[in-house]
C-alpha cells in the first residue's frame, strides 16, 4: 500500500533578501498511511505551523516534494491546491477561527456548500454528536470557547476529509474542556478512519497518537515514550 502522505526532503526558508535567514524546515521527510496519527512537538517558533501549512497545501516549501495519495501537491497550481484543501483537508485552529458573520449552521455547512453538497444531514449529525444541536441558528459570539471549538471541529470534519491538521486545538481552553475536545477529535477520526497530525504542547494530549515527533533546528526527531 502507498502512503497517504509522503514528504521528501522538504525545506522551507523565509528570507527578505537572497540568503536564507530563518530555516524552520531544513530537510524533513515523513511517510504516513491512511488512519495514522502523529503528534508534533517543538518550541515556539520551531516551525510546527509551517509544517502543517505545507502538508495541508496552504503554503509551498522552498525545496522538496509533498505527495498526497500519490499526487504531488507541490506541483499544483494555487487553484488546484485550493480544490485539494477543499476536499481532503480539515483544519482545526487554536483560536477556532469561526466566521462571526455566519451562524453556527452556516459555519458548519460552508465546506459542504463549497463541494456542492446540498445534503446537510451530516452537519446536523455532527452537531448532535458534539452536543450542540440547539445552536444551529446562533452566532459564534454567543458561544463559549469550548463550544466554539466544537463547532470548528464539526466544520473541519463535516466533509469527511482524509487528512486532519490540528494546530494546538486545546491551547485556548482549560484542561477539562480541552480533554473533552481531544476525546471528540479522537472519536470522529476513528469513525472516519482519518489521518491526523496534531501540534500540541499539552502532556494531556500525548495519548492521542503513538508516534510523536519533535521539530528541532528544522529537522524531525522521533521521540519514544512509554506511558
Amino acid at each position: 500500500m502507498d502512503p497517504l502522505i509522503r514528504l521528501v526532503d522538504v525545506k522551507k526558508c523565509y528570507s527578505s533578501g537572497p540568503t536564507c535567514e530563518i530555516f524552520p524546515l531544513a530537510g524533513v521527510s515523513l511517510d504516513m498511511f491512511q488512519g495514522d496519527r502523529v503528534i508534533l512537538l517543538g518550541k515556539s517558533g520551531s516551525g510546527k505551523s509551517t509544517f502543517l501549512n505545507i502538508v495541508g497545501g496552504v503554503d509551498s516549501p522552498t525545496e522538496g516534494r509533498v505527495f498526497f495519495d500519490g499526487r504531488e501537491i507541490t506541483r499544483m497550481s494555487s487553484q488546484d491546491m485550493a480544490y485539494f484543501r477543499r476536499k481532503e483537508v480539515g483544519f482545526i485552529f487554536q483560536s477556532f477561527n469561526l466566521f462571526p458573520t455566519l451562524t453556527v449552521g452556516e459555519n458548519v455547512t460552508l465546506p459542504l456548500d463549497l463541494l456542492g453538497i446540498r445534503d446537510y444531514s451530516r452537519a446536523h449529525e455532527l452537531l448532535n454528536e458534539t452536543g450542540l444541536n440547539g445552536y444551529w441558528k446562533k452566532f459564534p459570539e454567543a458561544l463559549s470557547g469550548g463550544e466554539q471549538q466544537r463547532v470548528a471541529i464539526a466544520r473541519a470534519l463535516v466533509k469527511g476529509p482524509r487528512l486532519i491538521l490540528a494546530d494546538e486545538p486545546t491551547g485556548n481552553l482549560d484542561q477539562e474542556t480541552g480533554n473533552g475536545i481531544l476525546n471528540l477529535i479522537d472519536k470522529i477520526c476513528r469513525e472516519s478512519d482519518a489521518t491526523l497530525i496534531m501540534v500540541t504542547h499539552s502532556p494531556d494530549a500525548l495519548w492521542m497518537a503513538p508516534r510523536r515527533y519533535r521539530l528541532k533546528s528544522g529537522v524531525l526527531l522521533e521521540e519514544h515514550y512509554t506511558n
Binding site: S49, T50, N53, G56, V58, D59, S78, Q79, A82, Y83, F84, R85, R86, K87, V89, F91, F93, Q94, S95, N97, F99, P100, T101, L102, E106, L110, P111, D113, L114, G116, R118, E141, R155, D167, E168
Partner: protein, 841 residues
Amino acid sequence: MTIRTLLQFNFKYYRRHTLLALLCLTGISLGVGIVVAVELINDSALSSFESSVDFLSGRATNSIISTFGRIDEKHFQEIWTNRRVTAASPIVDVIANTLETDSEPIRFLGVDPFLDAPFRGWTPQLSGKDDLAAFFAGDPPGAFLSSDLMKRFNLKVGESLTALDAGLEKKIRILGPLTEDSSGGLGENIAVMDISSAQEVFGRIGRLDRIDLLVEGSVSDAFPALPPGLKITDANSRKSTLTAMLYSFQLNLAAMSLIALFVGVFLIYNFSMFSVLSRRQDMSLLLTLGCDSRSLVLAFMIESVVLGALGSLAGVIFGYSIAAYSVGKVSSTISQLYFLVNNLNVGLSLRILGIGVAVGFVATAVGVTLPALEVAVTPPVLGLKRQSIEDRTKSARAYLFMGGAAFFIFSCLSVWASRNSIFWGFASAFGMTTAFALFTPGLLSPFTHYLGVVFKKSHRLLDAFLAARNIGASLSRTSIAVAALAVALSMTIGVDTMIFSFRTSVYSWLEDALKGDLYISPDTTKWDHPLPETLIKKVEADPRLDSIERYLALDVYLQGRPVKLRVIEPEILEKKARFKFVGGEESHKAWSQIIKGGVFISEPLAFKFNLKVGDFLTLDSPDGPKNFPVVAITRDYSSDQGTIQMDRSVYISIWKDDRVQSIALFLKPGASIEDVRKSVAALFKGLERTIVSNHEMRERVLSIFDKTFAPTATLKGVSLLVALLGIATAMMAILLERSKEIRVLGYLGLTPTEIGKMNVYQGLIMGVASFLIAAMCGLLLTYIIVYAINYRSFGWTIDISVNKWIFVETLGLTMAACFVSSLYPSFKLMRASSAASIKEE
C-alpha cells in the same frame, strides 16, 4: 506619552497605507473642488457681466431706455437740449453673429462719434480723410473692432465682416482696431459703427436703443417728466435687474453644489473616520500603555488639520480646473438664455478660497475628531475587540432609524412650509436625503441578511452569500459608504427625473404651441433683429401658403421688472395651435377676449406678480401707461421671467410698431414642405440658415433647454465619482479588518479567484443596496424639487413623468462603477490569498 510620539505613530500609519492616504485626500479634495467650482463659475459670470455693463456705460451717469424696447429718435432733441444735461449720446446697440467669428457674437454699437466722445475712451480716432468717409458713408459701412477680437480671428483692416441680421447677410468693412489703451483688457467683442449706418444695417431706422447721459446734480430734478414709455436708469440698476435674471441659473447650480457638498462632507467624514477606526486597536493599546485620552484626541485633531489643509489645497486646485474647463460652455449658455457674456475670466477670490478651505476643514475635523473621541472615552478593554464596534452599531441602528423618521417628517413639513419661502424647499430636499442616509443601516442590515439567505438557498452563489454576510457584519463601514452612494444616486435620479418631466412638459407644450409647417426664425430673436418687410411680403405672396403668423418678442418692464411681451396673431393661432389654459378657461372665450385687448399671461408671470384672470396689468406705452385685463393664464415654458401675450393688432395700434421677428408658415393641404422651403430660402441670401421645419424648431428650443441643464450633468458626474471612491474605501476597510477571516476561507479551500469574486460581489451588493435606497429617495426628491423648489421659484407646473430608463441607466452605471472600484481591492486580495497562511494570535 508625548503628542510627538503619537503624531509619529499616525504618520507611520499613513506611510504604510499610502493608497488609503491618497483616497482620503482625494475624497476631501473632490468635495471641496465641487463647491469651489460652482462658486467660481457663478462669480465669473456675474463679474464679467458687471464689468461689461460698466464698460458699456463708460462715463455716463445715467441712460435713458425704453420700457418697451425702442426709443423714437425724435425724443433725442428734447433730451439733449435739457439744461441739466451736459452731454448726451444716442446709441444703437445690437448683438449679432458673424460668419467670420462664428461661435462668438459681436456687440455692434452705433454711435455719433462727436456726441459720444465725452463718454468713452475707446471712441476711434478718425485720422485720415478716407477713414472719415468710410466711417460715415462707406459702402459697405465701416466699423472699428476691439483689437483682441481682430487678433483672435485674424481679421485684417480692409477685409469685410459678414454680420447676420435676422439670419440675412450684411457686409461690414473693417476699418481698424479700437485704440489699444482702452479696449485692451475689456474682454468684450465690440464693433463701433456710425449710428445711421447701424440703424440701416440692422433695420432700426428712426430708432435708438439707448441714450447715454452726463447729468449734473439729481436726475429726477433734471427730468421731472420724461416722454411716455421712456425710463431713466443707471449702471447699478441695470446690473441688478439683469443679475436677477440669472437667478434661476444660479439656483440650479447652487442646488447642485449643495447636494454635492452634502455628498462631499459625507465622504470626507467616511474617509477620515475609516482612517481613525482602522487604528482603533492601536489606539486602545496606546491607552492601555498609559497614554492619556486628551493627547490622543489632540493628536488626531492635529492630523485632521494637516489632512484638511492638504485636501483643501488640492480641492481648490481641482475646483479651479473644473471651472476653467467648463466656463466656456457656461458662458455660451448664459449668452443664449440671458445676456451676452464673452470671455469669462475665472478668478479665485479670497471669499471662494475661504469657503473651500472651510468646507474641507470642518468636514475633516468632524470626521476625524468624532470617532477619535469615541475611542478615547471607551474603556480600552472594550476597544480592543473589533466586534464591540459592530455591537454598538447594532444598537445605534435603531436610534439612527428614529432620527431618519424625524428628518422624514421634517421634510414633509418643509414641503408645506415652502409656500412661505423657498428656503424650506431646499430644507425639505436636504431633510429627505438625510432621512434616507439615516435609514441606510437599518435597511442594509435586513437586506444583506435576506439576500444572504437567498444566495445560501440557491446553493450556487456561495461567494455572493459570503459577500452579503460580510457587508452585514461590517455595517459601521459599509452603511456609511452605501449611504453616501445612495445620496449621490438619489440626487441623480431625482434631478434626472425632474429634468425628464420638465423636458416632457416642455415638449408637449411645444407640440401644442408650435404648429407651423415652417418657421422663419433667426436664432437671434432675443437680439431683436426684425425681418425686412419686403421679405414678409414676398413670402406671403406664395400661393401654396394657407396663412402666416407674425411674431414679435420684446423685453418690457412690469412693475419695474423685465418680462417678455410676445405679440401674436390670435385669429390664426386659435385655429392652428392648441394653447393649454391653466384653471380650465373656456378657450373660445379667452381667444375672443384677447382680440378685444386682453392678454394671456404665463404661469411664472401669474405666480411672480400674483395675478389672476380678471386682474389688470399695466404696461408703459408711447401714450402713457395702459391697463390690460388678464383673460387667461397659459402654460408656457419659454421664459422663467414670465411672458405676456398680446394681439398683434392691439399692439400695433398702441405702440405704432410693426416689427416682425419671426413668422410661422402654415401650408395649404397637399403643398410640399420641402418645395416651399427651397423656394422661400432662394428669396434672400442667408435665409436658408433661418428657415426651419417644425421639427427643427422644436429641436432648437429643446437644445436650449438641454444646455441649461448641462452644468447639472457635470456636477452630477463628479459627486457620483466621489461616492464611488467611498465604495472603494469601504471595501478596503473590509479587507483590512477581515483579512484573517478571508484567510480562513483560504484554509477551507476557497480559490483565490473565488475570494476575488466574493469581493467583487461585495461591491455589487453595496451598489444594488444604494440603488434601491436611492430609487425610493430619488422619486420623493423629484416631487420635492418640482413642487417645493421649482414651482416656488418659477411658478410653472411640471407634470411628473417617470422614465424607467433613468432607473435602468443609473443601475447599470452604478453596477459598472462598483465593479470597477472593487477591482483593485479584489486584485490585492487574490494576491494575498494565494499565500494564505494564517497567524495565530
